[in-house]
Amino acid sequence: MDELRQFEAAMLERGVFIPEDLLQGCFYVHLELQKMAGLMRTNRGPHNEPASAFLVSSLIQPDC
């Protein structure tokens, strides 16, 4: 099975049926997104750095 059909099958597994005439455009975007996801991973900082924070203080409003 070629990459395009593998992509189509994987999308279907996730509940998204792609009409044949939209498939090439979707596949192009899929490849682009995967390349971007790869780029992020090759440039990440150390695991122990708390770069992603959930700020409780930002959720507390004085009038709450």
């Binding site: 509940g15 939209l22 979707c26 975007v29 997104l33 780029l39 992020m40 991973r41």
Partner: protein, 479 residues
């Protein structure tokens, strides 16, 4: 020479309205006449609220006569991107799935503009759900660039850029998730401000990406943008992203000058990029040189890697957009245009780890920009787009268009949340507008607008208007 009403800034029109020299009803009537004459070519408006606008203008005139003054926007016509909810007025997001949708409530930003006495002239063209692209399979056709009807407006606030550039309205409210205010502002030759994330409530603007969406003004001048921001920047307790900030007059620094300011010039961001036109590089170099002549200290600076910031923004935007529309994508026959479908559906295959990595990277990029660059410079200067507006026929039926047709340098500042403004700086050899992007510190819009206003005054391009085709020339112009 006496100015036509469409040439009056918000401040100039306001002075005439208050002195009785001009009526709001006249402003609205003139605007509608211009729209009816030229919008069949430009397609800036999706819905015109003609009757309501005339009634509201008469009410504004009665208020002026009675000495009631709700502020600088009283009696001034404006438009809203058609993703911003308007009670009783169709809000379509230019999507087949919402083509007849009439909301029951106003977005808080729209409610605020109403309270300020401004006059809604209509709802403005957009790419589908503020993403998609200039598709020809949507309920409403793509807006066309008033400087050349065969060219793209930029997007997704395409009608907003076109309407202000054409002189239909002085103020449009758009949204910006990856550049959707700054791109049309740049390509149509007007001012577009993406405020700091959270400064302007985005509740009631149909979401594209919860964490990247910003709402802001597109205007003819920097002063118009400042006056609009004074009205639409406020805390919305029902919007968790809405910032609680002290009241600010964003017009306070418009005349302060820039002699004591430091500008970081991020030339590497665009000058070395494949496809960047020489005209864009020259116009930005000239703008940097002008800032120096005006007294600012200008140094070249290095920003966090563009491709990395773009990747971070794309992963987050696409994943969040898919989450919003997931149920529709899983229908047997999803009601989307081709571009919207092709650009968002593949997010079904993004992993949780992809999104977590993007969220983590986002914080790192924001820290790098703000601690390493903007802690030392008042504003950063860089490009908005790497070329002038592409021809509309460069866009094929299916995604992707040619890379340079949509290449903008805007998304990194949605990722970091910094305020960023597009300012017209000149024209290409083809007679199409060129713009510069100014990026500021968090919640320092007053200074950003001040730098932009000083540049605007020195550049001398703000008073230029496109020559709109007369009805008899229309067939040839759009052929």
């Amino acid at each position: 020479m006496r100015k036509a009403s469409f040439e009056l800034s918000i401040g100039e029109a306001g002075a005439k309205l208050r002195s009785g020299e001009l009526q709001s009803a006249t402003l609205v009537h003139d605007a509608l006449e211009r729209v009816n004459r030229s919008d069949p070519d430009i397609h800036a408006f999706i819905t015109l609220t003609e009757e309501r606008a005339l009634a509201d203008a008469e009410q504004a005139d009665r208020r002026f006569a009675a000495g009631i003054d709700l502020g600088p926007l009283q009696g001034i016509p404006y438009g809203l991107k058609d993703i911003i909810l308007t009670r009783g007025v169709r809000t379509t997001c230019n999507s087949p799935s919402l083509a007849t949708h009439v909301p029951a409530e106003d977005a808080p930003v729209e409610a605020r503009l109403k309270q300020a006495g401004a006059i809604l002239l209509g709802k403005l063209g957009t790419h589908e759900f503020a993403l998609g692209g200039p598709g020809f399979d949507l309920p409403f056709p793509p807006s066309r660039n008033p400087w050349n009807l065969n060219h793209f407006t930029g997007g997704s606030s395409s009608g907003s850029g076109a309407a202000v550039a054409a002189g239909f309205i002085r103020l449009a409210i758009g949204s910006d998730t990856g550049g959707s205010i700054r791109s049309p502002a740049c390509l149509c030759g007007v001012v577009g401000l993406k405020p700091t994330y959270g400064l302007v409530p985005r509740r009631g603007a149909y979401p594209l990406s919860y964490s990247l969406d910003h709402v802001g003004p597109i205007t003819k001048t920097v002063e118009d943008a400042a006056l609009a921001l004074n009205v639409i920047a406020f805390h919305d307790p029902a919007d968790p992203s809405s910032a609680r900030r002290p009241a600010t007059n964003f017009a306070k620094d418009l005349k302060r000058g820039i002699g004591d300011l430091k500008v970081g010039y991020a030339r590497h961001y665009f000058a070395g990029r494949k496809g960047t036109s020489g005209e864009v590089v020259d116009s930005l170099d000239s703008t940097a040189a002008l800032l120096e002549r005006l007294g600012a200290r200008v140094d070249e600076v290095i920003l966090p890697d563009f491709e990395l910031a773009k990747a971070c923004g794309r992963i987050l935007m696409t994943a969040e957009a898919f989450a919003i529309h997931e149920a529709e994508f899983k229908r047997a026959a999803p009601r989307f245009g081709r571009y919207m479908y092709q650009r968002v559906a593949p997010a079904a295959l993004l992993s949780a780890a992809d999104v977590i990595e993007a969220q983590r990277l986002r914080t790192e990029l924001a820290l790098e920009l703000n601690r390493n660059v903007l802690a030392h410079y008042d504003v950063v200067l860089t490009a908005v787009a790497i070329r002038d507006a592409a021809p509309l026929d460069a866009f094929p039926k299916d995604w992707p268009p040619p890379p340079d047709a949509i290449a903008v340098q805007t998304a990194p500042f949605n990722v970091t949340g910094n305020p960023a403004l597009s300012l017209p700086v000149g024209f290409s050899a083809a007679g199409l507008p060129l713009g510069a992007q100014l990026v500021g510190r968090y919640f320092d819009e007053a200074k950003l607008l001040g730098v932009a206003a000083t540049l605007e005054g020195a550049l001398g391009v703000v008073d230029k208007w496109p020559l709109l085709a007369a009805p008899e020339e229309r067939v040839e112009a759009v052929a």
